[in-house]
């Protein structure tokens, strides 16, 4: 059953660019990765990072800069940007993980604002204008993937890789400790663990994957802007995660796809996109507290139990 669903999903993903604008699809994929990286922290460690955009945006600039100024192949640029992002995540984590809840959120927010202004002031980013003309250099230095539809398959493969990495982390011995920290940090500490170490590592992984998404996004649009670092993106990823269902594996992906798709559809109506987002958020919080995927899962379990009993 599960395998059939996965195969169906793969088939749809492969066929989609023939029916839908590839850039929109690739945007969705980038945010699918981004929201999943955020959910790794919120849903599985219980950390609300209100500055996730700093990883997305910084990496976009770094990957863009590498591609523009050096001759490195595309995968090297993306991985290097993700690595820098992971290091930033480790540093932010080192400062912030001793705090929880709103304090943690505010420290990460402060860091994100700091990164925003650094990038605004920096010479190499192009400031308000953003960084234009980022080339899609050859994969492994030999394979030309610059055509939009071909590039879509590259982004799709990268997304699968990133999602698999997150799946791996969640379903690992380390992931079990993360979930335990989420449920009861004091208890984990009393068992002889140092929760802050686990949280810092989780921050690094989450930031690395968010950076991976940002670098990928820069190659999709072939430009990087300050929007990607702005706090509205940090807020939007919370909305995506809550809409889909935090702490569920597929929830943030569904949420990301829904929000990006809606934004695209409603773009012609200007502010209405934001109003629609607000209404959706209110409806989800009032009626679907576990998010779309979370509620669907709960419903599925209830029905199965009823059939059993």
């Amino acid at each position: 059953m599960r395998i059939a669903l996965v195969l169906l999903g793969v088939a749809i993903a492969l066929a989609l660019p023939f029916f839908v604008y590839p850039i929109l699809l690739m945007t969705i994929l980038c945010f699918v990765i981004f929201a999943s990286s955020f959910n790794l922290l919120l849903g599985y460690v219980g950390l609300l990072c209100f500055g996730q955009a700093m990883f997305l945006g910084l990496s976009a600039y770094i990957a863009g800069y590498l591609l523009k100024t050096t001759g490195v192949s595309i995968e090297i640029a993306i991985l290097a940007a993700a690595l820098v992002s992971a290091l930033l995540g480790g540093f932010v984590g080192f400062v912030a993980v001793r705090r929880t809840g709103i304090q943690f959120a505010m420290i990460t927010f402060a860091f994100a604002q700091f990164v925003y202004f650094m990038l605004l002031q920096s010479e190499f980013t192009g400031g308000e204008d953003g960084m234009q003309g980022i080339p899609r250099s050859d994969l492994f230095g030999v394979v030309d993937i610059s055509d939009s539809r071909t590039f879509y398959y590259f982004v799709l493969a990268m997304t699968a890789l990133a999602i698999f990495a997150i799946y791996r982390v969640i379903h690992s011995p380390f992931g079990e400790i993360l979930k335990a920290i989420r449920d009861n940090e004091a208890r984990v500490e009393s068992l002889g663990f140092r929760p802050e170490r686990f949280k810092i590592i989780a921050m690094m992984i989450s930031a690395g994957i968010a950076g991976f998404a940002g670098a990928l996004k820069a190659t999709v649009f072939q430009f990087a802007t300050l929007t990607d670092v702005s706090w509205t993106v940090s807020g939007e990823v919370i909305l995506m995660t809550l809409l889909g269902g935090m702490g569920t594996f597929t929830g943030p992906m569904v949420g990301a796809a829904a929000i990006i798709f809606l934004n695209d559809e409603l773009a012609q109506f200007g502010e209405w996109a934001l109003i629609a987002q607000g209404v959706i958020l209110i409806l989800v919080i009032l009626f679907l507290r576990r998010g779309v995927v979370g509620e669907a899962g709960a419903l599925w379990r209830r029905m199965r139990n009823r059939n059993k009993g």
Partner: protein
């Protein structure tokens, strides 16, 4: 190295502002015994407990575990030194199954806990031990149940199984029967008796009937200081103890 006393406190004190919640507490817990600490509400039992587990830093005095000063260690280090604690409010990992709860503790002190790139199958060998621990507390049929779906009594049992996973020499139990109905108190008391074999146990408890049947020695706290110490017969006939408990929970005596 074995010392006569597994756990000792010397001149232990803790000040909150100008108020001494615990003052000049000298405590000696004999190895292999079950030692209880009782006292009326606000006597400083919980503060004392938190000091001993290093959840709180002491203002004065020192704590000696197996002859070694642990006053400066952090909470997580105390566990690796062989002293494990339970919590007053049942501390389980609510969204994880009973088996996973115990398995978390089994990963303590092992390098596996940091392996984020390995599949869960890599710690499947811990499942056997986790099941044994669950059987030990009578939870073998609830292994796959999420901790949040367990009854209150079973949550306490799960917490004890998780604590036992550390195989601690010294166990500190914070009001193990707090908030329990009569039907749950008896099995938990029996369970504590069973798992304390070969270990040293310090119980902070409000319920005196639990203490009377379990403990070898009782320390009575009042207003942050030790009022008296002795076996149950001595302590329960002490007029100062009776007076301290008067108006509070005299029916419990």
């Amino acid at each position: 190295m074995t010392t006569e006393y597994a756990l000792e406190a010397r001149g232990l004190g803790r000040k909150f502002g100008a108020f001494w919640a615990v003052k000049d507490v000298d405590l000696k817990v004999r190895r292999g015994s079950i030692h209880a600490m009782i006292g009326p509400n606000g006597a400083g039992k919980t503060t004392c407990f938190n000091l001993l587990t290093k959840t709180l830093q002491p203002s004065t005095g020192s704590i000696i575990l197996n002859g070694e000063d642990i006053s400066r260690l952090r909470t997580s280090d105390v566990a690796t030194q062989g002293m494990a604690r339970s919590f007053q409010i049942s501390a389980t990992f609510t969204q994880m199954t009973a088996l996973e709860n115990v398995r978390v503790a089994l990963q303590a002190g092992k390098g596996t806990a940091y392996r984020f790139w390995r599949p869960l199958g890599s710690i499947a060998h811990l499942n056997t031990r986790a099941m044994e621990l669950l059987e030990n507390v009578g939870l073998q049929d609830s292994a796959g149940v999420a901790a949040s779906d367990l009854s209150y009594g079973k949550k306490r049992a799960l917490e004890i199984a998780t604590t036992l996973a550390l195989d601690p020499q010294v166990m500190l139990l914070d009001e193990p029967t707090a908030g329990m109905g009569h039907e749950d108190i008896e099995p938990i008391t029996e369970l504590i008796r069973k798992v304390s074999v070969g270990r040293t146990v310090l119980i902070v408890e409000h319920n005196l009937s639990v203490v009377s049947s379990l403990s070898d020695r009782i320390t009575v706290l009042q207003a942050g200081q030790i009022l008296t110490e002795g076996n149950y017969a001595e302590v329960s006939s002490d007029e100062r103890v009776i007076a301290a408990y008067m108006g509070g929970v005299e029916d419990a005596l």
